[in-house]
């Protein structure tokens, strides 16, 4: 199916312009995924986050400038303002006590005030394993929630981490609607919640918009929430249409059926760039770098790849800047470590490995891999420098990149064998059981100021005795890095933390536990009459600030 639809995309590129007459009090957005549930805490999906940004607000979020900010709270707790207090937790370890005060006038869509009881319900449901919420570390570590008054809560944590104020994506749940269903049977709550059985009930939404209609698998219709207390949103109605195939999505944009394509779930960069070239100034395009980090995981048990000099040579043999320029229209920043340049913890002086075939050759010679008669390098024992390069089958972009990597490594005397697998086999079997023999091309999604413990700490190497848990698939071990990864989350002083992040990036860029490629960018495509959309590039979508979206006068 995929090649057929790819050809369809190419054909669509030949299409001419369409006539469109958008209505200015409504906005139609195209995205490529449909939410599997509308409950904010069950299953993490980008499509759900995107819709929830219009309709539900968390206590805090990372703003478009990547700094944590209050959405429903009045003030972010800090040690300095006294809303965060160090204490000894119930388990005897260092802990934290945080106090949040809800903004005045917050209401659910039926007029019921949002109170600490709604936060207590969300917390109780999250702490109960039977409820089936996804990531549960926040609920585990927040071992006590005290409702001080209707608008004030105190949370007690059994650990100290620098990102304490952001409290994950903790958000109130409508206790007056859902608590009785949850208490009746927590195990069945995920199928009985009003978010999926009464999705158009205004009482479960609290954002500037509420869901007014659902077209299963096809779209969601939003209408203004008349009880929203913040700035009034510009559009009376927002239609979010799901079009999974990007060629069809592009066709609907050109035909005027949709006004914009969300960058969070839209066209791949190369398709967006081609569309921009064809349509000129008919739409506004913004390419926003994000936290999706494309890289090559390296199997450190490989006889050659365990040698740092070989990894450095592999990276210098690649012309990543040229690959980005040719395949992605130059729209994606080349990565030099796992820390995104937009991240406040990014170190400007991180070591870089520009394309340098001569230095790559010298390093390989030094490591004992010399060119043989067929151009492929061999060590003293006569073993060929041959690595297997794997990625997710069917991902056209990665398969193209693979071809270029193979050619550039071939020029450096490195033999590359390509072997691809469907994503579920690749991730669930080959990577997690460390069955890849050389390099694996895929992406990590992270968050601002993310500490890469799960992917780099030696405790996180998947092993049979740990039931293959952990994501250090390459098997990288570095005691210095381990110590840093353990100390970093507990460092509350931002300046000290910046130093530690700089150290982490220095080790990363020198040792190259994985080979950094680039950070993926989102292609946001807007009508020329729309303004105020602020792409974030991280897990909090632009829709969390939808009330700022305006029709250009």
């Amino acid at each position: 199916m995929a090649p057929a639809l790819r050809l369809a995309a190419a054909l669509l590129a030949l299409a001419g312009p369409a006539l469109a007459q958008p209505a200015r009090d409504s906005l139609t957005i195209g995205i490529t995924q449909y939410p599997s549930t509308f409950h904010p805490n069950i299953d993490a999906m980008v499509a759900k986050s995107y819709v929830a940004g219009f309709t539900l607000r968390p206590l805090t979020a990372y703003a478009p400038d990547w700094q944590p900010t209050c959405l429903f709270c009045e003030t972010l707790p800090t040690i300095e303002n006294g809303l965060a207090v160090r204490e000894t937790a119930a388990n005897g370890r260092p802990g934290l006590r945080l106090t949040y005060r809800l903004r005045e006038g917050l209401r659910w869509g039926d007029g019921t005030p949002i109170t600490g009881e709604d936060l207590r319900f969300a917390w109780e449901a999250g702490r109960n394993d039977a409820t089936g919420f996804g990531a549960a570390e926040f609920y585990r570590s927040a071992y006590e929630l005290i409702v001080v008054d209707a608008r004030t809560i105190t949370l007690r944590f059994d650990k100290v981490t620098f990102d304490f104020a952001s409290v994950g994506d903790f958000k109130p749940l409508p206790a007056h609607v859902d608590r009785a269903r949850w208490e009746a049977d927590p195990r069945a709550y995920r199928t009985r919640t009003a978010y999926d059985t009464e999705t158009t009930n205004p009482a479960i939404w609290n954002g500037p918009y509420r869901i007014a209609a659902v077209q299963p698998g096809a779209g969601v219709t939003l209408e203004r929430n008349p009880l929203w207390g913040g700035a009034a949103p510009a559009f009376r109605r927002i239609q979010i249409r799901t079009v999974e195939n990007t060629a069809a999505l592009e066709a609907q944009l050109l035909a005027g059926q949709i006004d914009m394509i969300a960058g969070e779930l839209g066209l791949p960069i190369d398709q967006a760039a081609a569309l921009q070239r064809r349509t000129g100034d008919r739409f506004r395009f913004e390419y926003h770098p994000g936290l999706i980090y494309e890289h090559l995981d390296i199997n450190h048990d490989h006889p050659a790849l365990g040698d740092r000099r070989v990894r450095q040579a592999l990276l210098m043999a690649l012309d990543r800047a040229q690959i980005v320029a040719r395949l992605f229209d130059g729209r994606q920043p080349v990565a030099h470590s796992s820390v995104n340049p937009l991240d406040p913890m990014h170190a400007e002086d991180v070591r870089q490995w520009p394309h340098d075939p001569a230095r790559a050759a010298a390093l390989l010679d030094e490591a004992g891999w010399r060119r043989g008669p067929d151009g492929i390098r061999r060590n003293a024992a006569g073993d060929r420098l041959s690595i297997e390069l794997m990625t997710t089958a069917g991902n056209r972009s990665r398969e193209q990149v693979q071809q270029v990597l193979q050619a550039q490594w071939r020029a450096a005397g490195i033999e590359t064998r390509i072997r691809n697998e469907p994503p579920r086999v690749f991730f669930a079997e080959t990577l997690s059981r460390r069955r890849f023999q050389g390099a694996a091309l895929f992406a990590w999604i992270s968050a601002p100021e993310s500490v890469p413990r799960t992917t780099l700490h030696s405790d996180e190497i998947p092993r049979a005795e740990r039931n293959w848990s952990g994501q250090n698939f390459g098997g990288y071990r570095n005691p210095e890095l381990d110590a840093l990864l353990e100390a970093l989350p507990e460092e509350l002083d931002p300046d000290e933390r910046r130093q530690m992040f700089a150290r982490l990036q220095a080790i990363y860029s020198r040792e190259l536990p994985v080979l950094p490629l680039w950070f993926r960018s989102d292609a946001h495509i807007w009508p020329t009459w729309l303004e105020g959309v602020r792409p974030t590039g991280h897990l909090n979508p632009s829709t969390l600030w939808a009330e700022e979206w305006r029709v250009r006068p």
């Binding site: 299409a15 199928t191 079997e429 997690s432 895929f442």
Partner: protein
């Protein structure tokens, strides 16, 4: 009496086939490497190994496959089809909208394809000089992939002329037909060839039969000879083709549904299998199998009615 026995025997065969099919499908889905929780681990940086183990237990993915199948089969025999794991709603709530969409799309397309194909096939048989023209249409229809044809229709009628929507489905019932035109045309053109070729072959053979010559000798009109005498005798292979196509009515058309962004059975079944949504995938697959087998039975009965020698 013989007809009733046939029906009872065939219904028993259908029940056994469905039971075997459900077991085979459940095992095949269950034996696929990995599960959705593995993929979720890659997509959600906050999900820990402990979360994954907890979610697997909650979804029953940590149980042996045979035990899970036994529990599922027991529920189905009690008439409980369960909840879709992917959509968090009862299976029927996901299935029926998709089924309605596929029935509208494929029902329309197959009706047009059958009507047009039969007309073209009869034309080719009745007027041999037009056979080349019909052959050309059949070859073009059969050779042109639906994604290619679909995108050409979108470019012409939606993007360039702006007459019809490029895809999606109507939010209200008012303009639903406009959204159906292009996908129905795409599928109908692709399917018309098979009906035209089968009809032309069957009619050409039938028109050479001695009893057709007799009918003509008795002074029957050309129309009467074609439609009253020849067509019922040529209809047996067309009925077989239609019966096989009946399964497609409920199994959807993945490429066309994806290209025109219509949520239908094809895409639903694909997503359910890939997402290990056993309840949804099995009910959908069994529904497809049941409709196909019932349609085949109906075709057999119709063939016996048309040709008593088969009874």
């Amino acid at each position: 009496m013989a007809g009733a026995a046939l029906i009872l025997r065939r219904l028993a065969q259908i029940a056994i086939t469905l039971a075997i099919l459900s077991f085979a499908a459940y095992m095949l889905i269950g034996l696929m490497p990995g599960d959705p929780i593995d993929l979720a681990l890659i997509g959600d940086p906050r999900l820990t190994a402990g979360d994954a183990a907890r979610l697997r237990a909650l979804h029953g993915l940590d149980q042996p496959l045979l035990a899970r199948y036994a529990a599922w089969a027991a529920s189905v025999l009690r008439g409980e089809f369960g909840y879709s794991r992917l959509f968090a709603v009862p299976v029927a709530d996901v299935l029926w909208p998709a089924l309605r969409s596929s029935l509208a799309l494929l029902g329309g397309a197959l009706a047009i394809a059958a009507t047009g194909g039969v007309a073209l096939g009869v034309l080719a048989a009745a007027r041999p000089r037009s056979a080349g023209f019909v052959d050309a249409i059949a070859v073009i229809g059969q050779a042109m992939p639906s994604f290619w044809l679909g995108i050409l229709l979108i470019i012409l009628f939606a993007v360039t002329l702006g007459w019809l929507p490029a895809g999606g489905s109507a939010e209200d019932g008012g303009s639903a037909l406009r959204f159906l035109v292009l996908p129905v045309a795409t599928l109908a053109i692709a399917n018309v060839a098979a009906y035209a070729r089968h009809t032309a072959a069957a009619m050409t053979a039938t028109l050479t039969e001695p009893w057709i010559r007799t009918a003509r000798a008795k002074g029957a009109s050309r129309t009467r000879v074609l439609w009253r005498h020849a067509f019922p005798n040529a209809a047996v292979p067309i009925l077989t083709l239609a019966a096989l196509d009946a399964g497609a009515l409920v199994s959807g058309a993945v490429v066309t549904e994806t290209l025109f962004a219509r949520p239908g059975m094809g895409k639903l079944i694909f997503d359910a299998i890939m997402g290990n949504d056993y309840n949804l995938a099995l009910v959908a697959l069994l529904l497809v199998a049941l409709v196909t087998m019932l349609a085949t039975l109906a075709a057999d009965l119709a063939q016996r009615a048309l040709d008593p020698r088969l009874a």
